[in-house]
C-alpha cells in the first residue's frame, strides 16, 4: 500500500502538509468506519486505501464490518436497486428481515468510536444505539429518484445522525440534519491509474489485436443497459462514415449476471460485421484497463444513469479527451467545453467525437484541463482532506470556522 510520501510528487508537498495540519486538530479522536463488506465494491476499495493513510497521518481510524445472512443481503440489494429508481417489489417481510438482522448487529457491534462513520444503508440502523458520540451516514448511492417506500423507511434512521454525506448535489434533498457533498476519488498510485511505460501499453493493444493505425475510441464499462453500449456502437458508426476509426468496448465478465449476458450478446451481434469493433471481457484486470485507456484517442462514457462515474475520472487523469453523458456525477468532473464534452444523445456523442478527432489541439487542451481538474478535485488526497474537515464540522456548527 502506498505511503503518504509517495503522493508528494503528484499533489505537492503543501497538500500533504495541510493533511497533517488537519490530523493534528483531530488528535485523540477515534474514527470508526462501519460498512457491510471488507472486500469487493467501491466502498471497501476506498476504505482499504484511505484507512492506512489516515492512520499514517496520526488519526486513529478503525474499520468494522457488520454481519448479515443471505436473506439480509438479498433485501439490502433490493433496497439498493429501489434507491437507484428501479422498480422493485418491497414487502413488509423484507423490512422485517432488515430489522431482525439490524437488531443482531446492534447487539453485536461495539460502536466505540468518538465518531462513528456508517457507510450505505446496510448498517444504517446501528444509529439506534447512539450514545454521546457523533454519527455520520455516508450514502454512496444515486438517490436522485429513489423508491419512496424505501427512502421513507431509511429516513427514520437518517434523521438521527448528526450529518449525512452524498456524492452529487442532485442526490441531496431537504433534510433536518446537515448534509455535505463529498465526491469519491481515484488513487493515482493504484494499478488502474499509475503511469505505465509505452511498451506495456503497446503490448496490451497487441495482445487484443488492436492496431494503432487508426484512432481508437474506448468505453470502459460492464455490459449493462445503463451504460448504453449499443448506443456507443451507433455513435461510433456515425463517426466512422467520416473518419476511419476503431472502437473498444471493454468491461468485466458478465457470467453471473443474466441481464449482462443478454446485453453482451446484443453488443456482439451489433458488432459482428465490423472488424474495427473490439469487445473485450476483462475480469478485474486493472493494469490492462489502464493500458487501454492510455492507448486510446478518445474515451467515451455514454451512461444513461451513473452514480459518480469514476471511469471518467480515470480517463481524465490520463489526460484523455472525454465525451460523456450529462448524468449523475459526470457534470461534476466535466465542465462542458472546458475539461471534456458532455452529451445527451447518440447524435450528440458522435458529433463530439468527430470534433475531438478532427481537432487534436482542442482535444489535447480538454484532456490537459481534465487532468488538472482531477488532480485538484478528485484524487484520494482531497478525499482524505474532506473526511477530516467533515469530522471537524461535527464539533463546529458555524460556516466560518477558525481553528
Amino acid at each position: 500500500m502506498a505511503k503518504l510520501e509517495e503522493y508528494i510528487p503528484i499533489v505537492g508537498q503543501s497538500i500533504i502538509d495541510d493533511l497533517r495540519l488537519l490530523a493534528k486538530r483531530l488528535e485523540g479522536k477515534v474514527v470508526q468506519h462501519i460498512n457491510s463488506t471488507a472486500v469487493g465494491g467501491g466502498v471497501a476499495e476506498i476504505l482499504t486505501r484511505a484507512v492506512p493513510l489516515l492512520n499514517e497521518l496520526g488519526l486513529n481510524t478503525k474499520w468494522d464490518v457488520i454481519k448479515g445472512g443471505e436473506q439480509f443481503f438479498e433485501v439490502t440489494k433490493k433496497f439498493h436497486n429501489a434507491l437507484h429508481g428501479r422498480a422493485e417489489e418491497i414487502s413488509q417481510r423484507d423490512f422485517d428481515i432488515f430489522m431482525e438482522a439490524s437488531a443482531e448487529n446492534i447487539k453485536g457491534v461495539d460502536t466505540y468510536g468518538d465518531i462513528v462513520f456508517v457507510h450505505d444503508p446496510q448498517p444504517i440502523a446501528l444509529i439506534n444505539k447512539r450514545a454521546e458520540n457523533k454519527w455520520l451516514w455516508r450514502c454512496h448511492i444515486d438517490v436522485s429518484n429513489p423508491n419512496q417506500k424505501v427512502w421513507k423507511f431509511l429516513m427514520d434512521f437518517i434523521v438521527k445522525y448528526d450529518s449525512a454525506v452524498f456524492s452529487a448535489p442532485s442526490f441531496s434533498r431537504r433534510l433536518p440534519i446537515r448534509q455535505f457533498l463529498i465526491s469519491p476519488s481515484i488513487d493515482p498510485l493504484s494499478d488502474k491509474n499509475k503511469e505505465l511505460p509505452q511498451d506495456l501499453i503497446d503490448s496490451v493493444l497487441k495482445k487484443y489485436e488492436i492496431e494503432k493505425d487508426k484512432p481508437i475510441i474506448t468505453q470502459i464499462s460492464r455490459f449493462d443497459r445503463l451504460k448504453d453500449p449499443v448506443g456507443v456502437i451507433q455513435a461510433y458508426l456515425q463517426v466512422k462514415k467520416y473518419i476511419d476509426c476503431q472502437l473498444i468496448l471493454a468491461g468485466g465478465s458478465a457470467r453471473d449476471d443474466p441481464e449482462g449476458m443478454q446485453v453482451l450478446a446484443e453488443v456482439k451481434e451489433k458488432a459482428s460485421k465490423d472488424k474495427d469493433i473490439h469487445i473485450l471481457l476483462l475480469p478485474q484486470n486493472d493494469i490492462e484497463v489502464n493500458a487501454l485507456q492510455r492507448g486510446s484517442d478518445v474515451i467515451i462514457q455514454k451512461s444513461i444513469r451513473e452514480g459518480f462515474g469514476l471511469t471518467v475520472s480515470e480517463a481524465l487523469w490520463k489526460a484523455k479527451p472525454v465525451v460523456a453523458s450529462n448524468v449523475g456525477g459526470i457534470p461534476l468532473q466535466i465542465k462542458h467545453k472546458y475539461s471534456g464534452l458532455l452529451c445527451h444523445s447518440i447524435d450528440g456523442a458522435a458529433f463530439a467525437i468527430k470534433q475531438l478527432l478532427n481537432s487534436p489541439a482542442y482535444a489535447r487542451k480538454l484532456g490537459e484541463n481534465g487532468r488538472e481538474n482531477i488532480r485538484n478535485n478528485f484524487l484520494l488526497t482531497r478525499h482524505l482532506k474532506e473526511y477530516m474537515l467533515l469530522f471537524l464540522s461535527l464539533y463546529h456548527p458555524e460556516d466560518v470556522v477558525q481553528l
Binding site: Q179, F180, H396
Partner: protein
C-alpha cells in the same frame, strides 16, 4: 537595492480549507433562481461566486460564476449569462451587496425579456444551491519583511493565497485584502499596497495571481 524594512507586525500566513454543504434547494427556472438567491445564506452566494475560481484555477482567467454558467449553458440565456459573469465582484465588499447586485441583474433582465421565465432546466440539470464551510488555519509560515514575505509567497498553497486575497476581504468583510493591509500598515509601503489592491484578482488564475504578486514585490525590492 532598497533597504529591507522590518515590519511593525509579523505576517502569519493562514490557509483556508473548505467543505461543501448541501442545502437540498434547487431551481428549475430563472424565477425560482432569483427567489432562492434572495433566501439562501450568504455562504451559498459566496460558494457560487467563488467556487469556480478555486476548483478550476488552472483554467484561463475570467472564471464564470455558477449562476452565469447555469444561465448560459443550461437555460441558453447567453446575454444574461454575460451580464452575470461580468459583475465586477471586486467592487463589492460584502456578500450582501454582491447578492443584491445579482438579484437586480436577473430581475432587470426578466423585465425586458419576460419570455426567459418560460425556460426550464431538464431533470438533473437544475441549479443546486450549495454552501461553503470554511476552516481557517494558521500555517507555520511567518514573514518579518517583504523579502521573507515574497519567499513564502512562492511556496504557500494556493488555498493560502486564496484566503488572504478573496475570502478575508469579502467573507470576513475587511475592506482590503490581507496582503495590502499588511504591506501598507505594517511595512509602511503605501504605494505597493495600493498597487496590489488595484489588481483585479478575479481576472487571474490563482497561479497567475501568485506570479503577479511575486513580480510586483520583487520589483519593489530591487529598486
Amino acid at each position: 537595492m532598497a533597504e529591507i524594512i522590518k515590519a511593525k507586525e509579523v505576517f502569519r500566513f493562514h490557509t483556508r480549507l473548505h467543505l461543501t454543504e448541501l442545502t437540498g434547494l434547487r431551481a428549475i427556472n430563472l424565477s425560482q433562481l432569483v427567489e432562492l438567491i434572495r433566501e439562501v445564506p450568504g455562504s451559498s452566494i459566496y460558494h457560487h461566486t467563488h467556487r469556480f475560481l478555486q476548483q478550476h484555477q488552472y483554467l484561463s482567467p475570467e472564471p464564470p460564476n455558477d449562476f452565469a454558467y447555469w444561465v448560459s449553458e443550461i437555460l441558453g440565456e447567453d446575454e444574461l449569462g454575460e451580464r452575470l459573469s461580468s459583475i465586477d465582484t471586486i467592487n463589492y465588499s460584502t456578500i450582501r451587496s454582491l447578492r443584491d447586485r445579482i438579484i437586480a441583474t436577473i430581475e432587470e433582465y426578466l423585465r425586458s425579456n419576460p419570455l426567459a421565465k418560460m425556460k426550464f432546466a431538464r431533470e438533473g440539470e437544475e441549479f443546486y444551491f450549495i454552501k461553503s464551510v470554511s476552516f481557517i488555519l494558521p500555517t507555520d509560515y511567518t514573514a518579518n519583511n517583504l523579502r521573507e514575505f515574497t519567499d513564502i509567497l512562492k511556496k504557500v498553497t494556493i488555498d493560502s493565497i486564496y484566503f488572504h486575497i478573496f475570502e478575508s476581504r469579502l467573507r470576513l468583510e475587511k475592506n482590503d485584502n490581507d496582503f495590502s493591509n499588511w504591506i501598507g500598515n505594517s511595512v509602511g509601503n503605501k504605494s505597493l499596497a495600493e498597487k496590489i489592491s488595484k489588481l483585479d484578482p478575479y481576472t487571474h488564475t490563482l497561479e497567475g495571481l501568485r506570479g503577479n504578486l511575486v513580480y510586483m514585490i520583487e520589483r519593489e525590492l530591487s529598486r
